[in-house]
Amino acid sequence: MLRRLLNHKGFLLTMGFILFITLIGIFAPVVAPHDPYVQDIMNKYAPFSWQFPLGTDNLGRCILSRLIWGIRPTLGLAFLTMLGTIALGGIMGLLSGYFRGPVDEIIMRIVDIMLSFPSQIMVFAVVALLGVDVRNVILANVFIKWAWYARMIRTSVIQHTDKNFVLYSRVIGNSERFILFKHILPSIASELAVLASLDIGWAIINISTLSFLGLGVQAPIPEWGAMLNEAKNALTTNPIQMLAPGIATVVLVTAFNFLGDVLRDALDPKEEM
């Protein structure tokens, strides 16, 4: 599978692009031409120039610098969300699929209820309950998404527990924990990776939407959704302030979606006749 991916030009290009963006985000202090917080009211809505490649916003801050600094919260929070989702969903799915019986019953009933609720509304409800804060946004996103993962992982765990090497391991008397970590976890790890990369795009959009509504990352911090929230008021005078973070989001999410598609195809190759 890995070799096929390495021969896939589109995969390499997108992977490279995502790594590139990540690196820019990590080295934001070095790469960004200006401090993203420094305001210069006299110089607001400045047009393109060598000094400000994308101009300045309503408070005279450099848009490009804010965009670059914005990679950190935008990508970082999405990664964090996926990590949390996978951890929670993975544990629940493992427990459910491995122990079966009443544990499975209980977890799966909860999953059913979670999945029958409209997810968008759940996010708002959880944020409302916990208060407006970034951490709560992540919690809310994890909370609505884990059930889906738990179900997927449960299915693959069940498939793997019936495989011979796991049965053998059990016969020779290895402890349950050993079997779980030594055999089953590695087998489903690749599947997890694919599922997660499919959903990072989703997480980015979700978090930035909440930030846009003012429920997530708060104003001065340069997150792309929050930047768009500020740009809303300057729509008439300075459209570039709205275009830049928006296009950035679309490009990044497209990259992740594409990556997910390629990975999914590689995981279950459809045979031609």
């Binding site: 708002f124 939407t209 497209t254």
Partner: protein, 313 residues
């Protein structure tokens, strides 16, 4: 048939109860004490511990959990959802009724757009698979899945309202004109899903034996596509579209906010900022009930329109 419908109706009841219970737990999980809030709402300035205890007793907050749940449930059934924490002179019901028409209008127009756009596009994408049109539409679909709805809204607002000055930017002051851009924005999020659904479904149907046999019989291509393939996929797609109506209504939250439409979504976001819990609770309950009822409705419709399923029950 009637037996099946009754059975389905009965299975919906526990689900509705679960949803209402979750909503009830939700309002009881909030950090603030309802008695205190109630007193503050009534503009009692000095809140003593005794007064709090007295209010709790009056409000029935000292009763066992389940009894309080049933009291609350009965209130809900009488459409009494309490009063808003922020505007004590307004009931939650009146606030909801104020916002509902705008949201429903928006959702209706979006639904119409979704159906009008995705049906023909999906149809032609399937019929002319791999043609230029199909490829363009597929790229378009791929792009739209990466676009956040709020940004699409801003973009449309900028191009159509500001640059071209064709439509009002926001608010509801211009009647139907105010709803054009918001509806397009909401619809765009769902159009891609349904184009894809219809396209795959039709292609799947085209591979079926009954299409081969229709060809063997020498039926006209147009009649095979319209009468057989389209009708068969419509059965699946109509049900899917119907079941997604509540999602569409929930999806208006963001778009209402972008275009400043005073609907349920705006109400809900304001309530989140103001920590106006009764409103949030009622909104969640409302969407939950919509979800269950639309699922139920279209599940039944599916069995009624499909002769194969009709017979089994």
């Amino acid at each position: 048939m009637i037996k099946y419908i009754t059975k389905r109706l009965l299975t919906a009841i526990p689900l509705l109860l679960t949803i209402s219970f979750v909503c009830f737990v939700f309002i009881n999980a909030i950090p603030s004490d309802p008695a205190e809030v109630a007193l503050r709402v009534n503009q009692v300035t000095v809140i003593s511990e005794e007064l709090l205890e007295q209010t709790r007793e009056e409000m029935g907050l000292n009763d066992p959990y389940l009894i309080r749940y049933f009291n609350w449930l009965i209130d809900c059934l009488r459409l009494d959802f309490g009063i808003s924490y922020v505007n004590p002179q307004r009931t939650v019901l009146s606030e909801m009724i104020r916002g509902l028409p705008n949201t429903l209008q928006l959702a209706c127009w979006s639904l119409v757009l979704v159906v009008v756009i995705s049906l023909p596009v999906g149809f032609f994408c399937a019929v002319y698979k791999d043609s230029l049109f199909d490829k363009i539409m597929r790229t378009f679909i791929f792009m739209t899945t990466a676009m956040p709805a709020y940004w699409v809204g801003l973009l449309l607002m900028w191009i159509v309202s500001i640059k071209l000055d064709l439509l009002p930017t926001s608010g509801m002051s211009d009647g139907y004109k105010s709803l054009i851009l918001p509806s397009i924005t909401v619809a765009l999020t769902y159009v891609s899903t349904f184009i894809r659904l219809i396209r795959t479904n039709m292609l799947e149907n085209m591979k079926q034996d009954y299409v081969l046999y229709a060809n063997v019989r020498g039926l006209k291509q147009s009649s095979i596509l319209a009468k057989h393939v389209l009708r068969n996929s419509l059965h699946t797609c109509i049900v899917a579209i119907g079941m997604s109506v509540p999602q569409l209504i929930a999806g208006t939250i963001v778009v209402e906010n972008v275009f400043a439409i005073p609907g349920l979504g705006t109400l809900c976001i304001e309530a989140i900022f103001n920590r106006d819990f009764p409103i949030i609770q009622t909104y969640v309950l409302f969407i939950g009930i919509l979800f269950v009822s639309f699922n139920l409705l279209f599940d039944i419709i599916q069995t009624v329109i499909d002769p194969k399923l009709r017979k089994e029950f």
